[in-house]
C-alpha cells in the first residue's frame, strides 16, 4: 500500500470512531453576553479531545455545557442541542445528578473533600447506590485508586485525610473520585495547571491509560500538553470554534490562520 493509501485508511479509521457526544449549534449566554456562537463539535468515543484557545475564548464554557455545570451559574442560558449517546442532555426529563455520574469532571485546582482518602473515593458510589457491602466499597476504592495510579502511594493510609496529600496526589485522588462512579465521559478543566512537571507527567500518563475505558475532554492552556495527550484538538477563539482537527495535523500544519498564530505564539 502506498503512503497516501495508508494515510487514507487511517483517516477513515479515525472517522469511523463512534461519536460519544454531539454538540449541535451550541450557544451560551451569560445574561445579555453571548459566550459561545453556534458551536458544532463532536466528541469521539475513547478519544482524548483537547480544547485550546486564548483566555475567554469559550473553551471552558463549552466543556461545562457537556455535563450542565453551567446550570449552577445564574443567568446562564444554553441553546442548541447536546446529546450523550442518543440522549439530549438538556431534555427536561434528564436527571442532572445522573448525567454528572455519566459525565464526570476534574477541576483545575485539586478539590478533595475534607475527609479521608477512602471516603473521598467511596462517596460517589455511596450516593449513587453503586455499592452496598463493605467489601463492595473496599473493591471500588481500590480499583479506582489503581486506575488513578495512586493505589501504591496511599494503600497504607486510606484513613488519612485526602487534603494531606501532595498537590499532584490530590489531583489523582480527584480523578479516582471521578472514576469511582464509572462515568462514560470525563471532563478535565486544566487539570495540571497547579501541578509541577513530575505530577503533570503522572496525570498525563493516567489520561493516556484512562482513554481505553473512558472518553476524555480536556481544556488546557498548555499547547504542548494538548499535543502530547490528545488525538483530536479543537481551537476556540472569541466564542467560536475555529478549527477541529487531528492533533498531529493541528500542531504541525493547522488549516486556520488563527490556530497557527495562537499555537506559534504570534500576534494574530
Amino acid at each position: 500500500m502506498s503512503e497516501a493509501a495508508v494515510e487514507k485508511a487511517l483517516d477513515q479509521k479515525m472517522n469511523t470512531v463512534p461519536l460519544k457526544m454531539i454538540g449541535k449549534d451550541v450557544s451560551v449566554y451569560y445574561g445579555e453576553k453571548r459566550a459561545l456562537f453556534d458551536v458544532n463539535l463532536n466528541i469521539r468515543e475513547n478519544t482524548v479531545t483537547a480544547l485550546i484557545g486564548p483566555s475567554g475564548c469559550g473553551k471552558s464554557t463549552f466543556l461545562r455545557t457537556l455535563n450542565r455545570m453551567n446550570d449552577t451559574i445564574e443567568n446562564c442560558r444554553v441553546t442548541g442541542r447536546i446529546t450523550l449517546d442518543e440522549d439530549d442532555i438538556y431534555d427536561p426529563s434528564i436527571d442532572v445528578v445522573e448525567l454528572r455520574a455519566r459525565v464526570g469532571m476534574v477541576f483545575q485546582k485539586p478539590n478533595p473533600f475534607p475527609k479521608s482518602i477512602y471516603e473521598n473515593v467511596s462517596y460517589g458510589p455511596r450516593i449513587h447506590g453503586l455499592a452496598r457491602s463493605k467489601a463492595d466499597f473496599d473493591e471500588v476504592v481500590e480499583t479506582s485508586l489503581q486506575k488513578a495510579g495512586l493505589w501504591n502511594e496511599v494503600k497504607d493510609r486510606l484513613q488519612e485525610p485526602g487534603t494531606g496529600l501532595s498537590g499532584g496526589q490530590q489531583q489523582r485522588l480527584c480523578i479516582a473520585r471521578a472514576v469511582a462512579v464509572s462515568p462514560e465521559v470525563i471532563l478535565m478543566d486544566e487539570p495540571c495547571s497547579a501541578l509541577d512537571p513530575i505530577a503533570t507527567a503522572k496525570v498525563e500518563e493516567l489520561i493516556h491509560e484512562l482513554r481505553a475505558n473512558f472518553t476524555i475532554v480536556i481544556v488546557t492552556h498548555s499547547m504542548q500538553q494538548a499535543a502530547r495527550v490528545s488525538q483530536r484538538t479543537a481551537m476556540f477563539h472569541l466564542g467560536n470554534l475555529v478549527e477541529e482537527n487531528d492533533t498531529d495535523k493541528m500542531f504541525t500544519n493547522p488549516d486556520d490562520q488563527r490556530t497557527q498564530d495562537y499555537i506559534m505564539g504570534r500576534f494574530g
Binding site: 500544519n253 498564530d261 506559534m264 504570534r266
Partner: protein
C-alpha cells in the same frame, strides 16, 4: 508573517535564516571557484576552496546547535517547527555542496598539466553553470519561501542530469581512444559527478523549502535524466 509575542524568538529564527543565506553564498562561491581552478589549473584557487570548507562546516554546526537550543527553549509549533527543522536540513545540504566543491578542488592537482581537451572543459563549465543557477535560484526561493518556485526548481534538475550523461559518454570515448587519458578522465568524471550531485542537493533544498512553506511533501517522483548507472552495460 506576523511576529512572535516574545521578540527574542523572532531573533533566533532570523539568526538561522541569516546563517543559511551566508552558507549558501559561500557554497556557491566554492563551487564556482573549484570549477574555475580545474579548468585553468589554478592551484592557489583550489587551495583556497579547500580551506574555505572549514568555514562551511563550522556554520553547519553552529546552525544545528542554535536550532537545538531553540527547540528546547521555545517548543516550536507548526510553521516555526518546520522552519527550524528545515534549517537543519538545508544547512546539511549546503555543507555537502561545500564538500563536493572541495573534492573537485583536490582533483585540480591530479589533473593539472595533463591538458584537458577544450571541449571537455567547456562541458564541465556548462554543467557547473547550470548547477550554480540551480543553487542560486534555490537560495532566492529560500528567501521568498515560494512553494511554486520551489517546485519549478525541482523539475529542472533533469537538464543537469542530461548534460552529465553526455559528459560521461564523452569521457568514456577519450579513455577508449588513449589509455593515457584514463587517469585525468577518471578525475574529471568524479568532478562531473560532484557537480551533478550539487544539482541534487539544490533539489533537496527546494523540497525542504516546499515543506517549510506548505507543511506538505511535494507530490510525485522527482524527474530523473541521469542514465549513467546503466551506460556501457551490455544492453546499452
Amino acid at each position: 508573517m506576523s511576529t512572535h509575542i516574545t521578540s527574542i524568538y523572532d531573533e533566533e529564527l532570523k539568526y538561522l535564516t541569516r546563517r543559511i543565506s551566508e552558507m549558501g553564498g559561500l557554497a556557491e562561491q566554492m563551487v564556482a571557484d573549484s570549477v574555475r581552478a580545474l579548468v585553468n589549473s589554478d592551484l592557489a584557487l583550489a587551495q583556497k576552496v579547500i580551506s574555505d570548507d572549514t568555514i562551511l562546516d563550522d556554520a553547519e554546526r553552529q546552525i544545528g546547535e542554535k536550532a537545538i537550543v531553540t527547540i528546547a527553549k521555545r517548543q516550536p509549533m507548526a510553521a516555526d517547527l518546520r522552519e527550524i527543522m528545515g534549517s537543519i536540513r538545508i544547512a546539511a545540504d549546503l555543507e555537502r555542496v561545500g564538500d563536493l566543491g572541495k573534492n573537485t578542488a583536490k582533483r585540480v592537482i591530479a589533473v593539472a598539466g595533463s591538458g584537458i581537451p577544450r571541449k571537455l572543459a567547456r562541458g564541465l563549465e556548462h554543467l557547473a553553470e547550470l548547477a550554480l543557477v540551480q543553487l542560486k535560484e534555490v537560495l532566492d526561493v529560500y528567501a521568498s519561501r515560494s512553494p511554486e518556485k520551489a517546485n519549478s526548481i525541482r523539475e529542472r534538475d533533469e537538464e543537469i542530469d542530461a548534460i552529465y550523461t553526455s559528459l560521461f559518454r564523452e569521457l568514456l570515448t577519450y579513455m577508449m581512444e588513449d589509455p593515457r587519458n584514463i587517469t585525468p578522465c577518471t578525475h574529471l568524471l568524479f568532478c562531473a559527478k560532484n557537480i551533478e550531485r550539487i544539482g541534487d542537493h539544490a533539489t533537496n533544498i527546494a523540497e525542504t523549502i516546499y515543506y517549510m512553506a506548505t507543511g506538505a511533501q511535494p507530490q510525485g517522483e522527482r524527474p530523473k535524466d541521469d542514465m549513467t548507472s546503466t551506460l556501457g552495460s551490455v544492453t546499452d
